[in-house]
Every structure is written in structure tokens, then in C-alpha cells.
């Protein structure tokens, strides 16, 4: 068993809890033991925190890292944004004594201190590099005959100097992980383009972000994909809720269901659509029911 401190973040526990439920239900069969990070906060989000004050961003991220350090476990995130914040903050604080000292001076007020004793991993990284495709396959009970449009999301890939993937321009790991479950990964134009939500754009200038989402959805629709598969709850929200917003604003209907990889893995391991939180979805997962 590998032990991990599970970092929940905001969007997963508070908007798409089915992703968290799937993670917790399938972890044992993957050989992963999860520990709750009691009292953790927002990572905090890179766009809507680091954009305004990088010192606050670093300090609040350090507080979360301290919770995992107290557990003595590496952090596991299910979100590209949490991964970006916590991984980058961890690297900065481990390697820059001046910044670590400044952060620890503030953390001392609440009795915490960053030591630099753990690492931060994305669940996709763990599944691909540690658990391995063969074990992932063995968890899957039924092959899912679906055509999937894979969306990586920016922060699982970049900045590449802090990532260990072979290529950030032509990655294949998420495609390989869905293929292992029996799905077909369809190619589409601008596959690696941003969903439009990051950098505080969804909260600050939503029309710009939604225009990116609409462009991606247009390309995805051309492939007749059954589902969009992502590994980031903010991209997930942008595609799922974004389709409703685009319809309201522009009248354009797409209706493509959206699943986080963990939900997909849960379904293939035998969980029902309800058990992976179908109720929270704005675009109904019903169209998938007949195909799986």
C-alpha cells in the first residue's frame, strides 16, 4: 500500500463530490491508502490568489503542506490547480531559504513551520507512474466502449520544468489511461488548448473564458465524442457548467457529458453513475447509461 494525504481543494468536495467518492472507493483496490488533511483550505488557487499577492499564495499553500507534513505523507491532489499551487510552492520553499524563512516567520504565529519533508503528486501521475496501466486495467470490470475527447488541462503539463512528463506539447499519458479502460481517444483540433477557466479568467472575465470553451466544444463535437474526459475539476466545471452558460448566452447547444478520470475509473470498476455523483452534473450523464 502507498500512503497519501488526500488534498480535497474546493471544487471537488463542494461542487463535484462524486469525484471524491470515486477516489475513496477505488483507492484500496489500487493499493492506495488515503488520509484526510483535516482543516486544509483552498490550495490557494493560483489565478485568484497568486495573481494578487504571491506572498499570501505561498504562505497559505505552505499551511496546507504543513498539514500533510504532520501526517508524514506525500500529498495527493485530484486537481490540476491544486497540483500547480502545492507542487510549485513546495519546490520554492524547499529550494529558497530566504522565502522559506519569510513564510515560516508568519506561520509561526499559528504554531506551524514548513520543513520540506514531503512531495506533491497528482493522482494521474500516481496512476500512470506508480500504480501502472496493468493494475489500472485490472481494476476495470467492464470495458467502456466510448469515444472520448481527452482534455489534459494546462497545469498537469506546465510549467514543464516542474513536471516529469516526456512531452508537454504531445502528451499521451491520459490517452493511455483511458484506452486502458476500453475507451477510444479521439483526436481533435487544438486538443491541448486551455479550457478558459484558469488564471482567474472564469471569475474575472467569464466571457473570454467561455469563448475558449465554446471553441474547444466545437472541435470536440466534430469528432462525435460521447464524453469529455478531464483530470481537473476546474476544467470539468468549465466544460460542464460552461455548456449551460454558453447556451444561455449564445443559444448554442452542445450537450456533451463531462467526466473526471476518477469518475470514469469508478464506473469501469462497477460504480453506478449515481455513485460517481451524476446528480451534480449540469449536462446529464444519461446518454452514457445506454452505452456502458
Amino acid at each position: 500500500m502507498s500512503d497519501y494525504a488526500l488534498f480535497l481543494g474546493c471544487v471537488i468536495p463542494n461542487r463535484y463530490p462524486g469525484i471524491e467518492a470515486a477516489m475513496k472507493k477505488i483507492a484500496p483496490s489500487l493499493g492506495i491508502a488515503l488520509y484526510e488533511m483535516e482543516g486544509a483550505s483552498c490550495c490557494p488557487a493560483p489565478g485568484v490568489t497568486k495573481s494578487f499577492d504571491s506572498q499570501t499564495w505561498l504562505t497559505l499553500a505552505a499551511r496546507n503542506l504543513c498539514i500533510a507534513e504532520a501526517l508524514g505523507k506525500n500529498v495527493l491532489t485530484m486537481c490540476n490547480g491544486c497540483y500547480a499551487s502545492l507542487k510549485e510552492a513546495n519546490v520554492i520553499l524547499k529550494n529558497d531559504p530566504k522565502k522559506r524563512e519569510a513564510v515560516n516567520r508568519v506561520l509561526a504565529e499559528v504554531g506551524k513551520s514548513f520543513r520540506g519533508s514531503i512531495d506533491v503528486k497528482h493522482v494521474i501521475e500516481v496512476l500512470y507512474n506508480e500504480v501502472g496501466l496493468e493494475k489500472v486495467k485490472s481494476v476495470a470490470k467492464k470495458p467502456l466502449k466510448l469515444k472520448a475527447a481527452v482534455h489534459y488541462g494546462c497545469h498537469i503539463l506546465k510549467p514543464s520544468e516542474l513536471r516529469e512528463w516526456k512531452s508537454y506539447e504531445r502528451p499521451t499519458f491520459l490517452d493511455e489511461l483511458i484506452t486502458a479502460l476500453g475507451l477510444q481517444s479521439v483526436d481533435y483540433q487544438d486538443k491541448l488548448m486551455c479550457c478558459g477557466a484558469g488564471g482567474g479568467v472564469r471569475s474575472g472575465i467569464p466571457e473570454v473564458g467561455l469563448d475558449m470553451t465554446r471553441e474547444k466544444l466545437t472541435h470536440i463535437t466534430h469528432t462525435a465524442a460521447d464524453v469529455i474526459v478531464n483530470c481537473c475539476p476546474l476544467c470539468h466545471l468549465q466544460f460542464d457548467r460552461g455548456q449551460v452558460e454558453i447556451e444561455q448566452n449564445q443559444g448554442e447547444k452542445f450537450k456533451v457529458p463531462v467526466l473526471h478520470y476518477l469518475q470514469l475509473l469508478g464506473i469501469s470498476a462497477g460504480l453506478s453513475l449515481d455513485q460517481v455523483g451524476a446528480k451534480a452534473h449540469n449536462i446529464s450523464l444519461e446518454t452514457l447509461a445506454s452505452k456502458i
Binding site: V48, F52, L60, P159, G198, I205, K279
Partner: protein, 182 residues
């Protein structure tokens, strides 16, 4: 504000340039900005630039020139989704996205934060989460066999107090509350 002195055909007067602006950026960790030779790979890679007036190359160019007010007050500064494509592709190895974060930090301190961002920060400061729990989602969590209130700052009031104390020590709450420049 984004259609600048650069396109109006007017003369940029040296007294309007704040040449120390680049020093401000360098001091905050953006020393590589000086390496820019204005090739435009960043602009060509930018998904926001495809649909808005945001031009990354121009942002860097104006910053180097010292057009501080123009750079900081431009709403397009907030259209970067931090996708990092510009940074990955920069032939001079400039950490472009980090520069954008640095310039945004200066903009926020100078009173140019978006009102919608202040609303979002209000949630963060009040609850510890940018996207807080609601009753409906709490109920759904219960149905899924999860703790109805997630074991975060939502469940632990002492953890929320700790979080808020850090925010107050760093005066981040003041930044979120300050009046915008007109």
C-alpha cells in the same frame, strides 16, 4: 486604455515613461524580462490573445519602455488564463507567465483589481474556500457516503481562524477591500 499611445500616432514623451517600472518587476523576481527581443512567439501562442486585445509581446514591450500606468490599468492584463504556453515556447527562456503574475501583483497593489475578483476573494477570506460548500452539495455528499461537511476549514472552525489570521498578518484582506483607481 489598451489602445495606447503606441497606436494613436502620438508622441510618447520621456516624462510620461516610468523607467523604474522595469526595476520594480526585476525586484519582484522578473529579472529575465530584460532578455526579451520582441519576437512575438508569446503572442502567437496565446489562446486569450486570439480573441481579445491582449498581446503578451506588447505587455512586455510596454513594461520595458516604462508605460506603467497603461500596463497596470489595462483590463486585458486579466485575460491570461496562465496556460504557460508562452513561457514554454519563449526562445529566450523568459518565464513569461511568472512575469504576468508579477505585473498583476503590482496592478493589484496599485488599485487595479477587478471587482469580480474582489467578490471571489471575499468567499476565500470568509470560508477558506474560493468555492464554498452549499446546503445542496452538502446533502449530495451525504448521499454519496461522504461526510456532509468536508473535513476542511468548513468543518474545523479553529483551522479557519488560523487561516484568517495568516491572511490578516499578510494584510491580504486589506488588498481585497481597497478602493479601485478610477
Amino acid at each position: 486604455m489598451s489602445t495606447s499611445s503606441l497606436v494613436k500616432g502620438s508622441v510618447i514623451k520621456s516624462e510620461d515613461l516610468k523607467v523604474q517600472f522595469v526595476e520594480e518587476i526585476v525586484k519582484a523576481g522578473g529579472e529575465k524580462i530584460r532578455l526579451c527581443f520582441q519576437c512575438g512567439t508569446c503572442t502567437g501562442s496565446c489562446p486569450s490573445g486570439r480573441r481579445t486585445a491582449f498581446k503578451t509581446r506588447q505587455l512586455i514591450g510596454k513594461s520595458l519602455l516604462g508605460l506603467r500606468d497603461e500596463v497596470l490599468s489595462d483590463k486585458n492584463l486579466w485575460t491570461c488564463t496562465s496556460c504557460y504556453t508562452c513561457m514554454e515556447r519563449c526562445p529566450r527562456g523568459i518565464d513569461v507567465t511568472n512575469l504576468i503574475f508579477i505585473i498583476r501583483n503590482i496592478a493589484a497593489r496599485s488599485g487595479f483589481m477587478l471587482d469580480k475578483h474582489k467578490v471571489a476573494l471575499g468567499y476565500l477570506i470568509k470560508t477558506g474556500h474560493l468555492v464554498p460548500i452549499t446546503e445542496n452539495y452538502s446533502k449530495l455528499r451525504g448521499e454519496l457516503g461522504l461526510e456532509a461537511v468536508p473535513p476542511t476549514t468548513h468543518k474545523h472552525s479553529e483551522a479557519l481562524k488560523e487561516f484568517q489570521q495568516l491572511i490578516s498578518s499578510l494584510q491580504f484582506d486589506k488588498l481585497a477591500e481597497q478602493e479601485n483607481k478610477k
